[in-house]
Structures are given as structure tokens and as C-alpha cells.
Symmetry: C5
Subunit: 86 residues, 5 copies
Amino acid sequence: MNIQRVTHDLVTTARTPELAHTSLRVVEDHKGNLEVALDPVGTRPGDFVITIATSAARHAAGDFRITTDLTIGGIIDHWSEERWHD
Amino acid sequence: MNIQRVTHDLVTTARTPELAHTSLRVVEDHKGNLEVALDPVGTRPGDFVITIATSAARHAAGDFRITTDLTIGGIIDHWSEERWHD
Amino acid sequence: MNIQRVTHDLVTTARTPELAHTSLRVVEDHKGNLEVALDPVGTRPGDFVITIATSAARHAAGDFRITTDLTIGGIIDHWSEERWHD
Amino acid sequence: MNIQRVTHDLVTTARTPELAHTSLRVVEDHKGNLEVALDPVGTRPGDFVITIATSAARHAAGDFRITTDLTIGGIIDHWSEERWHD
Amino acid sequence: MNIQRVTHDLVTTARTPELAHTSLRVVEDHKGNLEVALDPVGTRPGDFVITIATSAARHAAGDFRITTDLTIGGIIDHWSEERWHD
């Protein structure tokens, strides 16, 4: 799992049916690279989160049919940008 | 999921049976690296899209037997090249 | 599998149900990149471990429903930072 | 899927049973990095191909029991080294 | 699949049950990066091998329950360090 920071929501009108009605977030890693993650937890911009990849991402979405390859698994309690760059 | 931009179609005459009759697009990331994605959504060159990798790509293709490892999951409404490099 | 070093525990109050009650560790590779791994073995900070990724991570967790993509598979007996940089 | 070029065959006498009697090719990407792919299509050195990774590679091999993580999915009709570096 | 070279055995006393009694090897790529692979073939240090990743690694291990994400699939007959850097 990776440690990433939520930056903002992602709006997509044209989607595959399996992603419909899910919440998508843009997340960044410590180098500023952007990815898109499904959010079943309810995060806000600025939250540091752990993200789950590969087939576990679908299970973490709460419904195996949801076609995600990256899902937010939890909000980290104590983390800061400084710690990221340790 | 990653944020990529559709560049053009990909034409392949000799294909494995499971990929026959599917639409393939060349997509690039913010560094200009090229990949090939299956397109069940109907995109046009220049569209910014989210792409789904690993085993979820097959589910997103609408038929689990389609042997893709990268599928376009949606077209992003508001995105631009500047935002990509944030 | 990769060779990584345990750095410390990870505390997350808001988690997806499938990760609840599992032990998570922050691990680093030889370049100092951080990841988060589930720990079914019982490791301590400083231990050099092998980590298992992709769908095998869930099997290694001892319960296939646990939604991890990285699990500690064992503690390496003889390893040192010097050897890492061979 | 990635765009790679076939460089030559790979000969291995000692193999796991599931790879026996399959055709393996060395393929390179646009940076010259080498990988090994199973070839159910029938390619020749110099062909530009699309390669399929992760679990879809086994399905693309035509027999799910074949233990490959990279399979050639088709030969690209119009591609050249210049286009690779667009 | 990747082309890697076996460097030495890996000894781990504390392991998850599914990895018990398997042979593990440290392998390096052409840049000297180290990984750990399960060895069902019987390799020796210095052998150039092909390694199988993702879920195919478990199938290649000969027993799907073995929780590996990297398994040696065969010994390459004709390879040398020079060829690696082609």
C-alpha cells in the first residue's frame, strides 16, 4: 500500500457502468505524481491516506464488481509532509 | 487509475482472438510515455481519460474474457495540460 | 518479492472494514521509498523483511478477504544495510 | 498494453512444466529495456507488437494454465521507430 | 517475464506458513536491483533466468497456495552480461 495525499475530486460524466455513482479522488504521492483512487472512506482534500492497488482494490471498494485498480483504505492519523520525505 | 490523454487509434491486423473487434487507442501520460488501452467508452483524440489497469481492466471491458490489461474508464470533464503538471 | 526494512507502525483510525484489526507497518526500500505492509509475522522496527505484492499478498495475510496489496512474508536472518547496496 | 519490438527468440532448456512447448520472444521497449513475452501470434524479429501483462497475459496465451505474465496480443500495422519517440 | 541473474540463497527463519519449505533466491536485474524469487527449477548462483511475476507466479510455483509474487520459470541457455546491456 502507498501513502498518498488527497488533492481534489474528479468529475467524469462519461463513465463505464461499473464506476457509476462512486466517489473518485485525485491523489498525489510525495513526488507530486497524480493518480485517481476510489474513495469508500469519505476523505477531504489534504488528508494523508493509504491506497490499495491491484485486485485488492476491488475488494476494498466494498463490491468486487466495481472496476477500480486503486482504492483508499484508510486515513492516516499522524503524518505530515516532513515525515513523507524522511 | 491513471490520467492519460488519447492520441490516436491503433491498427493491428494480426491479433489474438480475444482482442478481435475491440477498439484500441494509443494513450500518453504527462511525460509522453505511450501505452495502448481498450476503449469501451468512445473517446476521441485529445480527450483526457482515466485508465484502469490490472485485472479490473478486463471487468471494465464489459466482458471478462477480453484480454486487456488497460481499459479506459471515463472521460474527465475538466482537465488541461497545465493541470497535469501541477 | 522485495527486501525492505520495517521503520515503524502506522496508525489509522478511519479504515475500510477489511483492514480493521490488522497490524500495518511502514517499510522502506534501499532508496528510502516508503510503503505500507500488513504484518502477520510480528516484526520490529529495524527488521529486514521480504514483502509479497499483488494478489499473493491477500493469501499471505492468512485470510483472502483482507484487502492488502503488500504483506510481510518473513524476516531475513542475515542482512545488513551494506549488503543492500551490493 | 505496451508497444514493444521483437528482438529474437529465447532458448531455455530447463523450464517449469507450464511453459514447456511455448514460444518465447525477447522484446524491447523504446528505451531498449528487455523483457520476455510468450508469442501465440507468430512474430518475427523486428515486428512492433502490443504486449499484454498481468493476469490477462495468461488468458491471452490461449490456455489459462500457461504461467506467463507477458503475452504478445497483436502485430501493429503501421509503426516505426520515429513514431515510438513522439 | 524478466531476465535476471541468481546471486545467492535467502535464509529466513520466521516465515508465513505458505512459504515454508520453499527455496528462495536473491536475483538481480541488469541494473543490480535485488528481488527475491521462489525457485522450483533448481538454479545456482550465476544462472541467468526468466522470472514470472503477478498471479502467474503462484501457478508457476506448482501449488497455487504458495504466496509468491515472483517465481523462476526457466534457466536461459545462452546469455551473458554483455548481451544484457545490448
